[in-house]
Symmetry: C2
Subunit: 321 residues, 2 copies
């Protein structure tokens, strides 16, 4: 059985790779488009079911991601891959719709201070923008319509404002859904989150907007709590977890916050626990090697790459192979 | 309120520092006794309720720990501190009893191959040794009797044998309790453990020997799963978690296995979740700085030390301060 066939089988948890967006936007090196394509293709071949290939932001702001349109077109040729992009505004969403991205994620910072620093928009302006994006998505023919997720960033606290009131997070989730977003996501932009908070917030938001409207979380590992927070997310039934190959990335506008959850370590956690991801860890580690070779000056994080798989390790899907 | 008074208050989870034993036995540098005393005193002052100060093993095997007797005597002068030591055999236990250690932990490797490599004893020989230690402890006057824990190492798998049968772990726990040990502990010597396994094994052993006979786990972070495994342990009601300042340590006889759970990151996890540890994180980070200065060539691990506490962070015990 090849990894390509694995990816088409039932999986229990969707690991969504964000390294090609969240990772690359946070380093100075501009990875050549061909190297990005090789990364995306190799991860898809390793069984990764969803990849956020880029962000439709002005190239003058993030020249590292200027080739996002070409990457979406390329990624859409890979069988079975869910092609995700981030968009900060209507203009970005229009570009994503033009390329036919499968999934559009639009960040909405619960901290208005962070929102102003990050996208230079107030909450009121962001909700207007969301409404415009909803309308643009709705204008697409049904078959070409992507899922639209509003990703609530700084949902677990802000390096500028400190704690953010949970009532505000819930209210903003309700507003985003009321405006017509398909789903909301929770993002621990600053690495402030703890498992109790993950449990509490996901539970409250699901009670407010419906279980099917919150299926994914984007957790950071800034304080080493990434996989502990994943445990809490799994416990309440979250089924999509963002992560980054080698833990590349973080948030450049949240000082001191860096470090995504490491995809390799996350997949090991899930498979070891008996949760199928469809991902071949050895092939994933090979991709990591390629990415490190393409980015020789960047530090990659994670433990499984160094320690290797346990002797006699069995995948959750072993019985089907 | 000072940290010293904090430590005397109710705590929800006992963080047991093993860096002074597990950490120092795995590095070549021999830390001077005065530096060890300073470390122990400073951690106790930061509120750490239990410290494994050393191991009673022959100095020719582990010269780094040759001053364990003096450290037990010193640590016993620190108010409120539970003074733990590791002993591999009866001779070690006699030394621990002579110094009046409060807690004696005796490793018993579930992998016989590992047992032979680590302490050069078969399972049969180890059970004989345990019986002898039980008798020596029982011969003490009640007031001077330490708690005796048999710590089941390689309980989650062995780098030499691979997976270890869970039935064997449970049977060995039962045997240790039947021989008269006060409690058993579970040790993920090789960093193979996953949260499902932690839940399953702790639950099975507690069902077999009684809940109060398994209260502590010693988890490694070799594959980055340390705090995720802690989450599973907390879920089933484990109340003592071993960890090491800066993640120093591991197991020298399990190739590729290194990296304890980082005390700083663990305490942050627990306090952020609302579980009281009695420990002041800023003071703990100061101790880390001192230990790094005393061991300039050693790599310390962990994230909280670099990222700092979240803005507006509140301890679980904040309401009492």
């Amino acid at each position: 059985m090849t990894a390509a066939t694995v990816a088409t089988e039932a999986i229990d948890v969707t690991v969504s790779e964000v390294g090609t967006r969240d990772g690359l936007q946070n380093i100075d090196t501009i990875l050549p488009t061909d190297a990005k394509k090789a990364w995306i293709a190799a991860e898809a071949a390793a069984g990764v079911p969803e990849i956020e290939v880029g962000s439709f932001v002005p190239p003058r702001l993030l020249p590292q991601l200027a080739d996002t349109a070409e990457l979406v077109r390329f990624a859409k040729t890979l069988p079975g891959l869910n092609v995700a992009v981030l968009v900060p505004n209507l203009r970005g969403a229009q570009a994503a719709l033009a390329e036919g991205a499968h999934h559009i994620s639009m960040p909405l910072s619960v901290s208005e201070t962070h929102s102003l620093a990050n996208v230079r928009k107030s909450h009121a302006q962001m909700f207007d923008e969301i409404a415009a994006v909803v309308a643009a998505v709705a204008a697409q023919p049904a078959a070409a319509r992507p899922t639209l997720e509003v990703s609530l960033s700084t949902a677990f606290g802000c390096t500028l404002e400190g704690p953010v009131p949970e009532d505000r997070v819930v209210a903003m989730a309700e507003r985003a859904i009321a405006l017509g977003a398909d789903e909301v996501g929770l993002s621990d932009t600053t690495g402030y989150g703890n498992p109790s908070q993950v449990r509490r917030l996901t539970t409250r938001i699901r009670a407010a907007v419906g279980r099917e409207r919150l299926t994914g979380v984007h957790l950071h590992n800034t304080r080493g709590q990434g996989l502990a927070n994943v445990m809490a997310a799994l416990e309440v039934g979250i089924t999509t977890i963002d992560s980054s190959l080698g833990g590349l990335g973080g948030c450049p506008f949240a000082p001191g916050a860096s470090g995504n959850i490491v995809t390799e370590d996350l997949v090991f956690l899930l498979e070891a626990m008996g949760l199928r991801t469809g991902i071949d860890i050895d092939r994933l580690l090979a991709v990591r090697g390629d990415v490190q070779a393409a980015l020789p000056d960047e530090t990659l994080y994670g433990f499984v790459a160094e320690a290797g798989l346990p002797k006699g390790f069995a995948y959750a899907r072993a019985e089907a192979s």
